[in-house]
Symmetry: C2
Subunit: 229 residues, 2 copies
């Protein structure tokens, strides 16, 4: 392993827990509305609203909160009490305050690679929220650069890895769709570290036979994987 | 003027109109609620909600929308119809779609300085929204770097101007509080280009006697000002 490697790390559900807070919020959302609508149907409508609004809101908790309010009004045909809407706003703010819970081997893996490779945090979501989480994680000093982006497209990876040799660049994350597939598309390596909870938006077919694709069960295996390449 | 200069440009209400869309939305907000509350009192409550929520939401339209909903529920003690809340959500989305209207001499000034100085866009707000506006403005090619930041503090300017000589760095914008004062604080120049509409949050005392402070009525005067320094 030499200093030539540039390693991009996803943040949410790669370095720290995230989706579990969305799932808890969805459960609370369903409970708040269980007098009006069945949970399955509600989730379908919420997912549809999130997808429809993605082009306006982008990723993150503020957009999620607005989509829950919109869905609550929609599915109840306007009969949802404003008290519930106020609770949804408060739920969003609680999500924006949730404490950081590091995933196994996140710190150890960064510590090992730090100084041996160029390390970049590449994450999407609300700017302030991602900054807060990074600050709280205590991992900030391991990164040579922080990239909070509105979406993870091949163009975005191209720009970030452009200063480097893309064949010696690697993106590591839990999302096949956002972390692995677009990195492979520009000639970089894509390393999947699956998380038991992954937002359905982030699913993509696993590029099992791609020569620059790897999957590891835990970040603890990342240093050895890089040594092996 | 040499290539040594680094010039940071604010975006909203410096290069293109922004506050006018917020004002229009505030007027619509007051109209929607005029059966329940007087306009003056409503605006006070909205501003209070925005300030209170800034630490959670940061700057931008999504946070503004959430604060209008919260305020509508608050001031009506929950009696606001959900139809109005749905309209507030739609109003927020309309703001996220509003067309870009360049301010006088924005393009000419950038065109003149481009290639003669390092030009950086430094703006706060929602990530995706700021990217959209930049793309629509057609000004993207004039910038050597784009910095969408969660807040404009001395530390942020320090980081952005760190690669350069801060004494030959300059921030140009309509907000004394966000563009001028923190730039002066780190040893850079601060150039105020007042806009007739400035969000009350952005007010600060004019540092009239500061040796690195300048005020110009229009961006058209910027190239000459830099020549003169």
């Amino acid at each position: 392993m030499t200093h030539q490697w540039t390693i991009g790390f996803d943040a949410d559900d790669t370095l720290w827990q995230n989706e579990q807070f969305f799932r808890l919020s969805q459960t609370r959302f369903a409970e708040m509305l269980d007098d009006y609508v069945e949970s399955d149907h509600l989730m379908e409508r919420l997912i549809a609203a999130e997808r429809r609004n993605l082009g306006h809101y982008g990723f993150g908790i503020k957009g999620f909160t607005l989509s829950t309010i919109e869905t609550a009004i929609e599915v109840t045909r306007g009969r949802v009490p404003t008290k519930v809407i106020a609770e949804l706003i408060e739920m969003g703010r609680e999500m924006l305050r949730h404490p950081i819970e590091l995933l196994p081997a996140a710190r150890e893996s960064l510590e090992h690679l730090s100084g041996r490779a160029e390390i970049v945090l590449i994450t999407k979501g609300d700017l302030l929220d991602q900054e807060r989480k990074l600050a709280q994680s205590g991992l900030g000093d391991y990164f040579d650069a922080i990239e909070i982006v509105s979406d993870k497209t091949p163009e975005v990876y191209q720009r970030i890895f452009a200063r480097h040799d893309t064949a010696r660049s690697m993106m590591v994350g839990n999302s096949l769709k956002s972390d692995v597939v677009p990195a492979l598309a520009i000639g970089a390596w894509g390393v999947h570290v699956p998380h038991e909870l992954t937002w359905e938006y982030e699913h993509a077919e696993e590029p099992t036979t791609h020569p620059r694709y790897r999957s590891i069960p835990s970040l603890s295996e990342l240093p050895a994987l890089i040594e092996d390449i």
